[in-house]
Symmetry: C2
Subunit: 192 residues, 2 copies
């Protein structure tokens, strides 16, 4: 299995749609349907992004998510850590202390400091994290903007607006149904 899961991939792709200043506040269901991914899966991802201060949830019919801070201040590493939590590249089992030559108790020289093998892995992990830290959501979004046609952002906005419109229409229809129900005469009570 890959080290970084599809949750990270989905989170990054979703956040890309929130970078534009006029991105609005799409819901996680909107974002799932825009991208053809499972709404139930995305619904579990967004609370983690919110908890990490990456997105802010707006309530209401027009509600959904927006970035909680500028896209230039959200690194890919921030998103990875928000989704995956602490997930080491390598889990040292301190094998060095188990050497049969040591008998019952390993000497201090053998177990003091970080194991040399673990140290290499920590350096490799740091190199990976530094690279993820260098990349921001703003830079990723700029890459998409650079390759997409000029009219694409408007098309996306239209798609999202359509979704909000549908929610508002559905809510209005539900309200009308509710009003017409309460306007009906109550059923006649039987004579005592």
């Amino acid at each position: 299995m890959a080290h970084l899961t599809s949750s990270v991939e989905y989170a990054l792709h979703c956040l890309l749609w929130l970078v534009a200043p006029d991105a609005g506040t799409p819901s996680s269901r909107d974002l799932a349907e825009l991208q053809g991914v499972s709404p139930a899966f995305l619904a579990k991802i967004f609370p983690k992004l919110e908890k990490a201060g990456i997105v802010h949830a707006a309530p209401g019919l027009r509600g959904g998510y927006r970035l909680a801070r500028p896209a230039a201040e959200i690194s890919v590493l921030d998103v990875v850590d928000a989704i995956e939590g602490v997930k080491p590249l390598f889990a040292c089992q301190e094998i060095r202390g188990r050497c049969a030559v040591f008998g019952e108790q390993a000497p201090r020289w053998a177990t003091s400091g970080v194991c040399g093998i673990h140290a290499v892995m920590l350096r490799a992990e740091q190199a990976m994290r530094s690279e993820l830290e260098r990349s921001t959501m703003a830079a990723l979004a700029a890459g998409v903007t650079a390759k997409s046609p000029k009219g694409f952002p408007a098309e996306v906005r239209l798609w999202f607006d359509g979704r909000v419109g549908k929610r508002i229409d559905a809510k209005a229809a539900a309200n009308r149904a509710l009003r017409s129900e309460s306007a009906d005469p109550p059923p006649r009570s039987k004579p005592a």
Copy 2:
């Protein structure tokens, strides 16, 4: 789960014992018992290291494993790749092509080249791999030598020699038993 498994950890620790010029050719069972790890587990690791040209198997009672090339020419990355095979940091699912705005067919601008998110992950993976490549078994072994007492290598050699001695004694005893058996008069056949 950590990205790099305990198989990588065990392999690196085992190889450390093979770096000294007079390391001999310990068996995978010797190395397992020296380090208090499962012999069955190590027995599965060594064929991978052999296939990758990292160790060479020597047959016979004194047989076991030795490094197949100088320790300075075996990087931690070589060992990781030998054990883990191709294991990407991130598995891109090409989500960018699924955008609902595209309809049935994603336009070429959207799916040409490497996905921007995947590109970040590939750079992070390369940074990690470069760091693992920079570290060699020779450098790791030098780190152990620098911190261990002068007499430690001799103690380890003695422990390995003891193992070989036991195997030779056991084989000699088995041979004696076999010879004394074949020297016994054959059981008398019953008269017809």
